[in-house]
C-alpha cells in the first residue's frame, strides 16, 4: 500500500469540489424522480423532528414524537434523508439561498463528489497517482453515474461509502483506531443503503483467501486461524451506528429492523425492457448486469475493465499457484469488491429494475482495475512522452465525457457505443426511462399553454415530485395533479414497459400528441393534450 501525501489529499479535494460544482451547475435540468419525491417528503417529516430537537430536546425522544416524524419511508435507513432534511433546514429555510428540493439534492451531489475523490485515493493507494486519477475521471464521466450523482437518492451515496469502507479496510493496519474507524465507516455505510450489508461477506471471502494456508485439518478437525479484529469492529460498531442513526428503530428495534430486512428480501419486481422483451417476473437473465455495464460504459472503458479484470485474476491465480502469502491479496480484494455487486444482481430471482444503479457501488473499483490496466498501455502508446500521454489519456476519457454531455439531463437512459448510442439502444428495444424525471422538460409548455386550474396526469412523475416542481416555481401553482388520465386535461406518457398502456390509452381517448422530450430523436416522455 502506498501512503498518501499532501498532494494526494489536495488532488482528492480538487476532484471532489470540481465534481460537486459540475453536478450543481447541471442539476437544474435534471427532473425530479419518483423516489426523490418520496425522499423529499421523508426529509420534510424528519426535518420537523430536527426542529423539535433544537427547540425542545426532551420532547424529541418520546415515542409519540419519533413515530409521528420518522414513520414515513421506513424502507431505507435515514442517513441520507437526514442530510437532505438538514440541508433543507440550513440552505433553504434558514439561509434562503436555495429552493427546498435543490437544497435537498446537495447531499447526494456531495456524496457523488466524495465517490470520485475516494476512487482517486483508493486507486492511488493500490497503484499509482495516475491510475487513481484516471479511475476517478472515468467514474465522473460514466454517464449513468453522472446522472445519479444529481439525485436526492442513495445510489451515488452508497457508491461513495462502498469505496470508503474498502479504504478503511485496507488502511486499518494493526491499530485500534484503524479498526474503530473501519467499524464506524461501515456503520455509516449500512446507514446509507442496504447494499453495504454485503461488505462483511465480501471481506470474509477475502479473509478466507488471505488465510488459506492457515486452515489446517488435523485428526479430523478443522483448525481455523484467529478471528480478525475487523470482524469484531464491524460486527459491533456497524450495528451500533446503524441503530443510533435511525430514531424510528429505537422504540422497537428488533421488529422494525426485521421489517426493514424483510422488505428488501421480498422486494417486488418492476418491469424492465431488455432487448425488446418485457422482463416482469423472475427468472431474469444472468447476463443482465454484465450486458448493461457493457452497453452503458464507454467501449474503451469496457475493454480496459475486461482486460484489467483478467490481469487481476491472473495475479490471484499466480498467488494461488506460487503460494505467495502477503496476507493482503489486493488483486483479489479489488476483484471481489468490483464484481460482487453485479454477481448479486445476476441472481435470477434478484430484482433488476433501476437500470445500472443497483450495482453501481462496484463501478469505482471496476474502473480502478480498468485504469490499472490502461495506464501502462497509455504510457507505451505515448512512447513515455509526457505531452502525448496526456493526449492519449484524454482520448480514453473523452468518449464517456462526450456521451455524458450528449445525453444530459437524461443519463438515466444513456447507452454507449456498443449499443450504437441511445438510438441504437432504442432499436435494440432497451429501456430508457423508469423514474419519472423526464417530465421536467415539458413543464415550460404546460406553464404556457395549460388553462388555469388544468389537471395534469404525469404518469411516472408522482405527486411529491409534482409538488416539488410547484415549490421550485418550475410548474404553475394553479395546475392540479390528476391521479389517472381519464379526468386529466393534459397527459404525459413515459416510454417504458409499465407505461405502454398510458400512451395507448391517451392515443385512444381524445388526446392529441403535442410534444415529446427527445434525446437525439429518441423519446423519453410524450405530452398529450385533450381535445375539446
Amino acid at each position: 500500500m502506498i501512503s498518501l501525501d499532501s498532494f494526494d489529499r489536495r488532488l482528492a479535494w480538487c476532484l471532489g469540489i470540481g465534481t460537486f460544482i459540475l453536478f450543481f451547475l447541471g442539476a437544474d435540468n435534471v427532473g425530479f424522480t419518483r423516489d426523490e419525491g418520496y425522499y423529499f417528503k421523508a426529509a420534510r417529516d424528519y426535518g420537523r423532528w430536527f426542529d423539535l430537537l433544537f427547540s425542545q430536546p426532551s420532547m424529541a425522544f418520546s415515542q409519540v414524537s419519533i413515530d409521528s416524524n420518522w414513520s414515513y419511508n421506513p424502507e431505507h435507513p435515514v442517513l441520507m434523508k437526514s442530510l437532505f432534511a438538514l440541508s433543507d433546514l440550513f440552505f433553504h429555510r434558514s439561509l434562503g439561498w436555495l429552493d427546498g428540493p435543490t437544497a435537498m439534492r446537495l447531499p447526494g451531489m456531495g456524496m457523488a463528489a466524495l465517490a470520485v475523490a475516494l476512487t482517486y485515493l483508493l486507486g492511488r493507494q493500490m497503484f499509482t497517482r495516475e491510475v487513481g486519477l484516471l479511475a476517478a475521471l472515468m467514474l465522473l464521466f460514466s454517464p449513468r453515474f453522472h446522472y445519479h450523482g444529481h439525485m436526492a437518492c442513495f445510489d451515488s451515496a452508497v457508491t461513495a461509502v462502498w469505496v470508503a469502507v474498502i479504504l478503511a479496510y485496507v488502511n486499518r493496519g494493526e491499530s485500534i483506531w484503524g479498526h474503530v474507524r473501519l467499524g464506524l465507516v461501515f456503520g455509516l455505510a449500512i446507514a446509507t443503503k442496504h447494499n453495504a450489508l454485503f461488505l462483511p461477506i465480501v471481506f470474509g471471502i477475502h479473509w478466507l483467501f488471505c488465510q488459506r494456508d492457515r486452515f489446517i485439518l488435523a485428526h479430523g478437525k478443522l483448525r481455523l486461524p484467529p478471528i480478525p479484529w475487523w470482524v469484531v469492529s464491524m460486527g459491533i460498531l456497524g450495528p451500533l451506528v446503524f441503530l443510533m442513526h435511525w430514531p424510528y428503530l429505537w422504540p422497537d428495534p428488533l421488529e422494525r429492523i426485521t421489517w426493514y430486512l424483510s422488505f428488501h428480501l421480498h422486494h417486488e419486481h418492476y418491469p424492465v425492457r431488455y432487448f425488446g422483451e418485457g422482463l416482469w417476473d423472475p427468472p431474469f437473465p444472468r447476463s443482465f448486469p454484465w450486458v448493461m455495464w457493457a452497453i452503458t460504459l464507454p467501449l474503451v472503458t469496457v475493454v480496459a475493465a475486461i482486460a484489467g479484470t483478467l490481469t487481476q485474476a491472473w495475479s490471484c491465480f499466480q498467488a494461488l499457484w506460487n503460494g505467495v502469502w502477503d496476507r493482503k491479496e489486493h488483486a483479489f480484494l479489488l476483484l471481489l469488491t468490483a464484481l460482487f455487486p453485479a454477481f448479486l444482481i445476476a441472481g435470477p430471482k434478484v430484482p433488476i429494475f433501476g437500470g445500472t444503479k443497483h450495482w453501481m457501488n462496484g463501478l469505482p473499483i471496476l474502473l480502478i482495475i480498468a485504469a490499472a490496466w490502461a495506464w501502462p498501455a497509455i504510457l507505451k502508446l505515448a512512447g513515455n512522452r509526457r505531452y502525448l500521454t496526456g493526449v492519449v489519456s484524454a482520448f480514453v476519457l473523452l468518449p464517456g465525457a462526450v456521451t455524458t454531455w450528449r445525453h444530459h439531463p437524461h443519463g438515466i437512459g444513456s447507452y454507449s457505443e456498443l449499443a450504437g448510442g441511445i438510438r441504437g439502444a432504442a432499436n435494440l428495444g432497451m429501456e430508457r426511462q423508469f423514474w419519472g424525471g423526464a417530465s421536467r422538460q415539458l413543464l415550460d409548455k404546460l406553464n404556457k399553454e395549460a388553462k388555469p386550474n388544468a389537471r395534469l396526469f404525469l404518469d411516472r412523475t408522482n405527486l411529491d415530485a409534482f409538488k416539488a416542481y410547484q415549490e421550485t416555481g418550475l410548474l404553475r401553482a394553479d395546475l392540479r395533479f390528476a391521479r389517472g388520465p381519464s379526468r386529466a386535461d393534459w397527459g404525459i406518457s413515459f416510454h417504458q414497459p409499465d407505461s405502454d398502456w398510458v400512451i395507448s390509452y391517451l392515443r385512444q381517448s381524445r388526446f392529441k400528441p403535442v410534444a415529446a422530450v427527445e434525446v437525439e430523436g429518441v423519446p423519453m416522455a410524450s405530452l398529450f393534450k385533450k381535445e375539446p
Binding site: D281, D500, P513, P523
Partner: protein, 262 residues
C-alpha cells in the same frame, strides 16, 4: 495482443462508433421539409407510418401540420391492408417491407425517406365487424363480452410495439369462436398472435382453426410469444368464416387480431 495495441484498437473502435452515432442524429430541417411535402401530397384515405416506430417525435410534428392524420403504429401494424400508405423512414429504421404494396413514389429528405405505397381502394384496413356469440362489433360498438372473456377493438400492445386491432381475452373454458363475414372480399389479411400480457401469462399454445362452412382453411398453434404472425387467407366463396380459438391452459390468455379485408 500487446496491451497498448489492444487499447489502440479499442480507442479506434470507440471513436468510430461515437462518430457514427453522432452522425445519425435527427435533422430538424429535413424533417420539416418532409412533413411539408407530405402535407401537400397526402389524400384523405391515406395512412402514415414512421419507422423506426419508437421515434415518437414524428407524431406530434405530424399532428401539428396535418388535420387528424391516420397513423399506423409501427411494423406490427403493417400486416393489415391499406388504401394508400406513406412510409417515413429514418436512420436506424429497417428497410421498407415488400408486403406493404406497390411503391409509387420515393423521395429523400436528408437522412429520411418518404415513400408512398399504393393500396387497394376497396380495402377495409381494419375489420369493424366481428361476431362472438350473440354480440357483434361494428363501427360504434367496439366491445363484446362472453363468459368472462372479452373481445375489444383498439390498440394492442406488444412490449413497446403497438398495432390497431382486437384484443381477445379467452374465457376460462379456453374457447372462443369468432365469426367474420368476408362480404365481397377475396382476402383477409393481417396478423394474429399473443399480446405481451398474453405471452407473459400463457402456459400453453393457443390453437386456431379457421373454417368456412365445413371446410378447414387454416390451422395453427400460437406459442406464447409476443407479437403478430402475418396471416393471409385467400377465399373462394363468401360464406362466413369461423375463427375457433382453443387452449388447454385457459388462464389469462390474451390474443391479438389485427385484420383487414382486401
Amino acid at each position: 495482443m500487446r496491451n497498448h495495441l489492444l487499447l489502440l484498437t479499442a480507442l479506434i473502435a470507440t471513436w468510430a462508433l461515437q462518430g457514427g452515432t453522432a452522425w445519425n442524429r435527427p435533422d430538424e430541417t429535413a424533417r420539416s421539409r418532409l412533413i411539408q411535402s407530405l402535407k401537400e401530397q397526402v389524400r384523405p384515405k391515406d395512412e402514415i407510418v414512421f419507422l423506426p416506430e419508437w421515434e415518437w417525435g414524428w407524431a406530434h410534428r405530424l399532428y401539428a401540420v396535418l388535420e387528424a392524420p391516420t397513423l399506423r403504429l409501427g411494423r406490427e401494424d403493417l400486416y393489415r391492408p391499406h388504401r394508400g400508405l406513406w412510409v417515413i423512414q429514418g436512420p436506424n429504421a429497417e428497410m421498407v417491407f415488400d408486403h406493404v404494396g406497390t411503391l409509387e413514389t420515393d423521395q429523400a429528405f436528408g437522412p429520411y425517406r418518404l415513400a408512398y405505397f399504393a393500396g387497394e381502394p376497396q380495402a377495409e384496413p381494419l375489420l369493424q365487424s366481428i361476431a362472438w356469440g350473440n354480440c357483434r362489433t361494428n363501427r360504434r360498438r367496439s366491445i363484446c363480452r362472453q363468459k368472462q372473456g372479452e373481445l375489444r377493438r383498439g390498440e394492442v400492445i406488444f412490449d413497446g410495439r403497438f398495432a390497431h386491432g382486437y384484443k381477445l381475452k379467452l374465457p376460462p373454458n379456453g374457447k372462443a369462436t369468432l365469426i367474420i363475414d368476408p362480404k365481397n372480399s377475396s382476402t383477409i389479411v393481417g396478423g394474429i398472435g399473443h399480446t405481451d400480457h398474453g405471452a407473459r401469462h400463457g402456459q400453453a399454445p393457443v390453437q386456431l382453426a379457421i373454417r368456412q362452412g365445413s371446410e378447414l382453411l387454416f390451422r395453427y398453434a400460437y406459442k406464447p410469444q409476443t407479437g403478430l404472425r402475418p396471416f393471409r387467407l385467400q377465399l373462394d366463396n363468401k360464406k362466413p368464416l369461423q375463427f375457433e380459438f382453443s387452449t388447454t391452459a385457459p388462464d389469462r390468455n390474451e390474443m391479438a387480431l389485427s385484420l383487414g379485408r382486401q
